[in-house]
């Protein structure tokens, strides 16, 4: 077995959490149909051997490909104008500069490579905003694996450029018409495909959700964000950050941004969820016009794990909503649910309007067009900067090119200070 560079992290209990049995306090577990259990056991074994044990040099190859194909490490950039605006040092962890334009490649490349090591012949994945789908499609093309992506019909309409990118990389994109046609339905449909094809197919789940070992495995692949940021912050600011801010949907960006800091008690961790239009739920219609499962959800079981969910009083899963399809999910990773209960992570909700304002502010003041998911973190920064410490790290989880059509449409409906006039574009670009 090759020596790994994880000697430091293995002594940190936060990084060990969940690895053994997939339990995070009362959350986590493996609530899946029996047909999937053998595949999940096989995957658990592969995770232990290749990811934790670096068998056959898996982690070395993963890191090398993340560097050469992905472009890691990504910079930690001091944001000059935002630092001035908020009167504290604001640093941006630039995952938008990762190949593909979002943090999603960290996980997708790891899992597709793992599938290859496991001898699987086919990749399937779900996608919400299309960022995980495009990352998986890129990784599958890079590693020569056939790939099918399930995507809600509504999301396909909201994220057309990403659909095109997946097809350019040779993936098959299958529309999911059930329910509201968003991420929740796409995950259910991908699980159904997997139940039928489990013997030769690997399901590349896109977030820290689902049955064990997915939540820990995806966290471990995404942890590179905070491992780098932690060293970079110490290098640039001479100290750990006082606060780390990351947007949270399913939670892969969030756990990736927090993982290396969980054991640093002095670092406050803020998970920014999509507050949608309101935090009130419409029980009769089965709709929660937000995606704030950490902030407003109740414990339940969905998609293989016990976690916090948006559900009605009977336990039916609510249709979530967010202006950003990447945050539009009724559940959240079980480890985040646990860290919130423990008081280690603070959940906050930022509504559609504040996120859109954050989008325009970052675009204007720093020359960075963020994804609408990411924009929620900047909405939080605007509303709560006074409560934060001196050195703040915000993860720019992705770039906003994919969102331009939604932004034009949503901006045109609102009166946002400093936003350009969108009326000339509303016929489409």
């Amino acid at each position: 077995m090759t020596e790994t560079s994880t000697t430091e992290t293995t002594t940190r209990p936060g990084r060990e959490r969940g690895r053994e049995d997939g339990k995070f306090g009362r959350y986590g577990g493996q609530y899946v149909p029996e047909a999937l259990m053998p595949a999940i056991e096989e995957l658990t074994d592969a995770y232990r051997r290749y990811v934790l044990g670096n068998e056959d040099g898996f982690m070395d190859e993963f890191r090398e490909r993340l560097a050469d194909f992905g472009g890691r490490p990504t910079p930690l950039q001091r944001a000059g104008r935002l630092s001035e605006r908020y009167g504290r040092e604001v640093y941006l962890k630039r995952e938008d500069l990762l190949h593909g334009g979002a943090h999603k490649l960290n996980n997708a490349l790891g899992q597709v490579l793992l599938a290859k090591y496991m001898g699987k012949e086919r990749i399937i994945a779900e996608t919400g905003a299309g960022q995980h789908g495009t990352a998986t499609a890129m990784a599958a093309a890079h590693l020569d694996m056939p790939c099918t992506i399930y995507m809600g019909e509504r999301d396909i309409n909201r994220q057309r450029p990403n659909v095109f990118r997946m097809k350019l990389n040779g993936s098959d994109v299958k529309p999911v018409t059930a329910g509201r046609g968003t991420l929740k339905e796409a995950i259910s449909e991908t699980m159904r495909d997997w139940a039928a094809t489990v013997e030769d197919t690997h399901y590349v789940i896109g977030s820290v959700v689902g049955p064990h070992p997915f939540p820990v495995m995806v966290r471990d692949f995404q942890a590179v964000i905070s491992e780098e940021a932690r060293e970079q912050a110490i290098g640039k600011a001479g100290d750990l950050p006082t606060d780390v801010i990351a947007c949270a949907g399913g939670g892969s960006n969030t756990m990736g941004s927090f993982a290396a800091f969980v054991d640093d008690g002095s670092v406050a961790l803020h998970a920014v969820e999509a507050g949608g239009s309101t935090l009130e739920v419409d029980e009769a219609a089965g709709v929660a016009p937000n995606s704030a499962s950490l902030y407003a959800g109740e414990e339940g079981v969905l998609h293989g794990a016990r976690t916090k969910l948006l559900q009605d009083s009977h336990g039916q899963i609510m249709e979530s909503h967010s202006i950003s399809s990447g945050l539009d999910y009724a559940g959240v990773g079980p480890e985040l649910a646990y860290l919130v209960d423990e008081g280690r992570v603070t959940p906050v909700a930022v509504d559609d309007d504040a996120a859109l304002e954050g989008f325009h502010r970052l675009s204007r003041t720093e020359g960075i067009i963020p994804a609408l998911e990411t924009a929620h973190a900047f909405g939080f920064l605007e509303e709560h900067a006074d409560e934060l410490g001196d050195r703040v790290v915000v993860t720019v989880s992705g770039r906003g090119d994919k969102d331009l059509e939604s932004v034009i449409e949503e901006t045109d409906k609102r009166d946002i200070a400093g936003a350009p006039d969108m009326s000339m574009f509303t016929g489409g670009i």
């Binding site: 149909p33 259990m37 039928a196 079981v301 559900q311």
Partner: protein
């Protein structure tokens, strides 16, 4: 075959009598016909008539689906039923009222997903759901997203209130996993005929026979489901060693056809009863063929 070595060790597994005497009786003499419908599809009143039609058609056990918004183990047919039932206003409370109102002879098993069981009632955990299920006369539960590893709390509640807990065994289940499930199962084991989700198929997989072979050493009735839609399928499956057949999508198709073509409830009920008779007769032919061939000592 990978299962061969393990199977020898399972012959001394403790016989499972199950908690429900009526379910045990349903499998005791001849093959059991176990139909499934989603309760409330497409509305409460029609659904009552449909389930009662299954009973008249010869059902030995009836699986009643309590619809959940994310039915990850179901194919398109049953997903459609679940959507119709939820749109028709079905809730766990109405489901229990439905079971109380139902006038049937066959023992009833509730099939649903764990979140609905977990959330029901005031207390955390599955106990209050199971208590209420027992009150309204349900005899068992099938929970497709609850593997044996996570089932202890539900198992305890089922034992406390005298319900059976049915587990699904997939074509990929073998070795230690199979033993773990067989320690937890009671009533009958649901043998999944092929991989994938529920749905009627024109052929019945060879893997059914392999699965039944793996289960031979366990003294619990084996009911095969996934893909059975005709009397001929039923005959072949029972002749191949199954103690019962579970049929869902083929019946749901009749309900869906009734919705699409706006057929009267009585006409849909009649078709459900007729297909039930065909399936039950097929199962009995298969059983007769098997017992004619069978060596003495093969009690089932």
């Amino acid at each position: 075959m990978p299962g061969d070595e393990e199977r020898a060790t399972t012959d001394d597994a403790a016989p499972k009598t199950g908690n429900s005497a009526t379910i045990a009786a349903a499998f005791a003499d001849g093959p059991a016909y176990v139909p499934y419908l989603a309760v409330g599809d497409p509305d409460y009143e029609s659904s009552l008539a449909y389930v009662e039609a299954l009973d008249r058609g010869g059902a030995d056990v009836i699986e009643l689906g309590l619809p959940f918004s994310e039915p990850i183990a179901e194919g398109p047919t049953i997903q459609g039923a679940v959507v119709r039932a939820l749109e028709g206003g079905m809730t766990p409370d109405r489901f229990f009222a439905f079971v109380e109102e139902l006038d049937v002879d066959a023992p009833l098993v509730c099939m649903t997903y764990y979140n609905l069981i977990y959330q029901w009632g005031d207390s955390d955990g599955p106990r209050s759901f199971v208590e209420r299920a027992a009150e309204v006369g349900l005899q068992g539960l099938v929970v497709p997203d609850l593997p044996a590893e996570e089932a202890d709390p539900l198992r305890e509640a089922c034992d406390e209130f005298g319900l059976d807990l049915v587990f699904i065994v997939a074509p990929t289940t073998e070795g230690e996993r199979l033993e773990r499930i067989m320690e937890q199962v009671s009533g009958y084991v649901y043998v999944q005929a092929r991989l994938g989700t529920t749905g009627a198929k024109s052929d019945v997989s060879d893997r059914t026979t392999e699965s039944l072979d793996r289960l031979r050493g366990y003294d619990v009735p084996k009911a095969v489901g996934f893909g059975i839609s005709t009397g001929e399928h039923a005959e072949r499956i029972v002749a191949g060693g199954a103690d019962g057949i579970i049929v869902g999508s083929a019946l749901v198709d009749i309900v869906a056809d009734g919705v699409e073509n706006d057929r009267p409830t009585a006409a849909v009920a009649e078709r459900l009863e007729a297909l039930s008779r065909e399936l039950k007769a097929g199962a009995e032919r298969g059983f007769a063929a098997r017992t004619a061939d069978a060596a003495p000592g093969d009690a089932r």
